[in-house]
Symmetry: C2
Subunit: 227 residues, 2 copies
Amino acid sequence: PVVVKELTKVYRPDDPGLTVRALDGVSLRAERGEAIAIIGSSGCGKSTLLHILGCLDRPTSGTYRLEGRDVAGLDEDERARVRNQHIGFVFQSFNLLPRMTARENVALPLLYAGTSNPGELAERALARVGLADRAHHRPNELSGGQKQRVAIARALVTRPSILLADEPTGALDSRTSGEVLELLTHLHEEGTTLFVVTHDLEVARRLPRSVRMSDGRVLHDGPSDAV
Amino acid sequence: PVVVKELTKVYRPDDPGLTVRALDGVSLRAERGEAIAIIGSSGCGKSTLLHILGCLDRPTSGTYRLEGRDVAGLDEDERARVRNQHIGFVFQSFNLLPRMTARENVALPLLYAGTSNPGELAERALARVGLADRAHHRPNELSGGQKQRVAIARALVTRPSILLADEPTGALDSRTSGEVLELLTHLHEEGTTLFVVTHDLEVARRLPRSVRMSDGRVLHDGPSDAV
Ligand SMILES: Nc1ncnc2c1ncn2[C@@H]1O[C@H](COP(=O)(O)OP(=O)(O)OP(=O)(O)O)[C@@H](O)[C@H]1O
Ligand SMILES: Nc1ncnc2c1ncn2[C@@H]1O[C@H](COP(=O)(O)OP(=O)(O)OP(=O)(O)O)[C@@H](O)[C@H]1O
Ligand SMILES: [Mg+2]
Ligand SMILES: [Mg+2]
């Protein structure tokens, strides 16, 4: 399970006029294999929470136990290892490496993990998001929605046990959006734990549970059909 | 009016296996003060068309006359002047300058135009998108939707006669999205010509006319209520 308790994230704590409480006491528990939407207004703390769950950032206070292990206290290298072995992350602004092709970007996590056939697995992941014919394009030769799909392919190529996706359909038209949701649903059926930040309530309603945030806190946590 | 005829944009024309016809013969005419949504699947050419309309890019072939003037044939400096004097552009990936604050980013077009009171006008523009309290934050200290709103504020601070917005609500929740649409509608009522690329059909339906694209061409051009 994923268990966070009383997480806070405070920027510029020493500067009262500039202090931002991006997370102001967030607690939640997810069992393995759950699929959860995180929703809420622009600036309410969704990406901040997702980065902490993804071991990309540390909270100011509070605890985070991943499958029973305290991960908030790990050092940089240990967190990198947890990320590479267990976590797939789709960034809100994609974060593709500009000098590498789509195929090279997607293969990168496999190279870190020492997996064989990285190129072939990368091409299959690209095919699953409809971009087989863009494998050798660089990010500046791709449309916004194509970059988003490359970021998605990269996040799932290592078959992570936890997939964290920050607005994965934000740049996609409704049909392509539907295809990506099919893909995520399929992964979930195979046992992947899913956290999907989205401001699209149609996306949220396709996941069993929704956590609504506001001003760094959880307002509501329950079945998505109430959303 | 904005008049484009038979625009094409072809990448890698000399490499048959890699040739991409991003625009494959696009024609349209917009009268001054019209508001038009551009919709279509990921990769169909919307951003490419918008960049040509915004004088940020040149077509491979075809013509573009803006208020009777042939702009496709202008050199780099002349196009920069047209942009600064007449056009506001909201980029799909925001394109904020990372080392400047929100306020400095928004003030930049005013500095180029030699306008007095750039700082004050920038702050008012930020207030209109709900970000008065983020004026001194840099882009990496802002959420995705906050960056998008700074990009919007920057595009409208010079009161351009033509506003080109590439997915301006893509990173926004429904309430903030609604506020941005109100703002755009207001500008339109004041006479601004609007081109809004969007994959959100709710946004498209709020504009009188929609142009649907597919594979670099216009599939359909007419009233949005048919969309
Ligand atoms: N420099 C380039 N070299 C080759 N192909 C390119 C280049 N730039 C863009 N393309 C291709 O041109 C096509 C149109 O791109 P464009 O960005 O206009 O799409 P779009 O409709 O805005 O898509 P989205 O909805 O995903 O943002 C895409 O298929 C893209 O891969
Ligand atoms: N380095 C920083 N310094 C100061 N404030 C920050 C910093 N990084 C983020 N913030 C603030 O933290 C708050 C939460 O940001 P976060 O990115 O989590 O929002 P979000 O819910 O993902 O928003 P969006 O829907 O717009 O993507 C925002 O108000 C933002 O301005
Ligand atoms: Mg975010
Ligand atoms: Mg685009």
